[in-house]
C-alpha cells in the first residue's frame, strides 16, 4: 500500500499517481482503493453542474478563494468531454482556476469523460475518494449537466449546485425531470444579462409546483456574475448553511447512504462488465449462435453467462 500511506499524509505526487492509476484501471491502483475507501467519508462534496458556458469554472475559481479564506483545504475534480472522434480531450476548466495554482492547499484534477455519458464515471468517483482520503475539507466536482446523468451526479454530492444563465431557454430545461428534484442551490450566473430576474421568477414558480421530498431544505436561488466575482460570498454562505443543515437534520446520513447504494450498483455493474469481457470468446459465440437459431432466449442466455460469475 505504498501510495495509500503517502496519500493519507497529504503527499501531492502520490495522490496524483493514485488518481491516474485508478483512472486507467491499473490493477495495483484498484488494489489500493479497497483500503483507501475505508479512509473516505470526511470531506464535504459539492457538485457543480450546468450547461457548457454557464460559467461553472469561473464560479468555482471564485468559490475556492472564499473557502480558502475560511481556512478550508480544497479539492477540485473538473470533468470535460472526450472527443468521440479522436479519443482526445481539451481539459480547459483548470484555466479559470489557475489563480490558485501556487496554493499548496488546493488540488485541482482535470478528467476527460472518456466516453461516459451522463454525469458520473468510476474515475470521477474514485478521484473524489482519493482527495477525500488525502484530507481535503471540501471537494468540488464540476461536470456538464446532461439531464439524465444529473441525478446520479447529484447523488454523489452532499450539496448539489446547478448553474444556469439567462436567455438560454432554461425555463424549459429546468422542468426536465431530475434537475428540480435534486438541486439544493440554483445559481443564475451572468446575472448582469437581460432575463436574469425573470428566470429567477420562473425557477421560483417551478419550485413551488414541484413536490417536496427534500425535508426542511428549501432550495435557494442565487444571482451571480462570476466574471466580476459578484455573489460569491453569498453563495459560499448558502453552501455552508446547507452543510450545517445536513449535519443537524441527519440528512447527511441519508445522502451518504444513497451514495453508498449508488457505488454498490456501479461496482456490481463494473464487475459484471469485467466478467463479460473475460468470458471465453468461443463460449459467447456458441450462445450467440443458439440465440440466432431460436434455440434459447436472451434472458436464459444471460444467466448462462452470469452464473459462472458467482463461483
Amino acid at each position: 500500500m505504498a501510495l495509500l500511506n503517502k496519500v493519507l499524509q497529504g503527499d501531492v505526487q502520490a495522490t496524483a499517481k493514485l488518481i491516474r492509476g485508478l483512472e486507467d484501471d491499473l490493477p495495483e491502483a484498484v488494489a489500493e482503493l479497497r483500503d483507501l475507501y475505508l479512509h473516505t467519508g470526511k470531506a464535504h462534496i459539492v457538485g457543480v453542474s450546468g450547461a457548457p458556458g454557464a460559467g461553472k469554472s469561473t464560479l468555482l475559481g471564485n468559490l475556492i478563494g472564499t473557502f480558502r479564506k475560511k481556512g478550508m483545504t480544497i479539492g477540485v475534480v473538473a470533468v470535460d468531454p472526450t472527443s468521440p472522434l479522436s479519443g482526445g480531450a481539451i481539459l480547459g476548466d483548470r484555466l479559470r482556476m489557475q489563480k490558485h495554482g501556487e496554493d499548496k492547499d488546493v488540488f485541482i484534477r482535470s478528467l476527460a469523460s472518456r466516453g461516459w455519458k451522463g454525469g458520473l464515471s468510476r474515475a470521477t468517483v474514485n478521484t473524489v475518494h482519493v482527495l477525500d482520503a488525502m484530507g481535503k475539507d471540501v471537494i468540488f466536482v464540476e461536470a456538464v449537466g446532461s439531464g439524465q446523468g444529473e441525478t446520479d451526479f447529484a447523488r454523489l454530492a452532499d450539496t448539489s449546485v446547478v448553474v444556469t444563465v439567462p436567455g438560454m431557454g432554461d425555463d424549459i430545461q429546468t422542468i426536465k425531470a431530475g434537475i428540480m428534484e435534486v438541486a439544493d442551490i440554483f445559481v443564475i450566473n451572468k446575472a448582469d444579462r437581460e432575463g436574469a430576474e425573470s428566470l429567477k421568477l420562473s425557477l421560483e414558480a417551478m419550485l413551488e409546483m414541484s413536490p417536496g421530498g427534500r425535508e426542511e431544505w428549501k432550495p435557494e436561488i442565487l444571482l451571480t456574475t462570476a466574471s466580476k466575482d459578484k455573489g460569491t460570498d453569498e453563495l459560499t454562505e448558502v453552501i455552508l448553511r446547507h452543510q450545517a443543515f445536513l449535519a443537524h437534520s441527519g440528512e447527511i446520513e441519508k445522502r451518504r447512504r444513497r451514495r453508498a447504494e449508488l457505488e454498490l450498483t456501479m461496482a456490481v455493474e463494473d464487475a459484471l462488465r469485467r466478467h463479460l469481457a473475460a468470458v471465453d470468446g468461443c463460449y459467447l459465440e456458441k450462445l450467440v449462435d443458439e440465440l440466432a437459431a431460436r434455440k434459447t432466449d436472451p434472458y436464459t442466455a444471460a444467466q448462462r453467462v452470469i452464473k459462472p460469475a458467482k463461483s
Binding site: 486507467d24 484501471d25 479522436s86 479519443g87 482526445g88 481539459l91 489557475q98 482535470s110
Partner: protein
Amino acid sequence: MPERKIRVLIAKPGLDGHDRGVKIVARAYRDAGYEVIYTGVHQTPEQIVNAAIQEDVDLVGLSCLSGAHLYLFSEVAKQLQEKGAANVIVVGGGIIPKEDVPKLKKAGIKEVFLPGTPLAKIIGWTKENIKLK
C-alpha cells in the same frame, strides 16, 4: 479494460499573452488522441509545475513568444527536478532563435520546435518519444 491516455500540459509562462498558436497546438494534440490540460497565459513556473504534478502529465509543452524562454523554460525544468518530477518531459516552442536551442536542451528541454514547425512534426515527435510507463 480502458485504453490508457497520454496527458499533456500546455502552458505559456511569463508575460506573453499571445495564445492563438498554442491553442492550435492544443487542438492538434486533442485530434491526435491526447488529453490536453491547457493552463492559459501568464503562468509562473511554479503554477506550471504544480499543475503538471497534480495532473500527473507525461509531457509539458511550453510556449513563449516574448524572448524570455531561456529563463522561463529552464526554470520549469529545474523545478520539476526539484519537486521529484524529473520523469516529466518538457518541450518548448515559440519565437526562439536557433542559437538558443543547445542552451535549452542543456537546461533539460528535450526538444524545441522553432517557428514554422508543422503540427504533424510536433505530433510525430510526441508519438515517437512520449510513451506510457
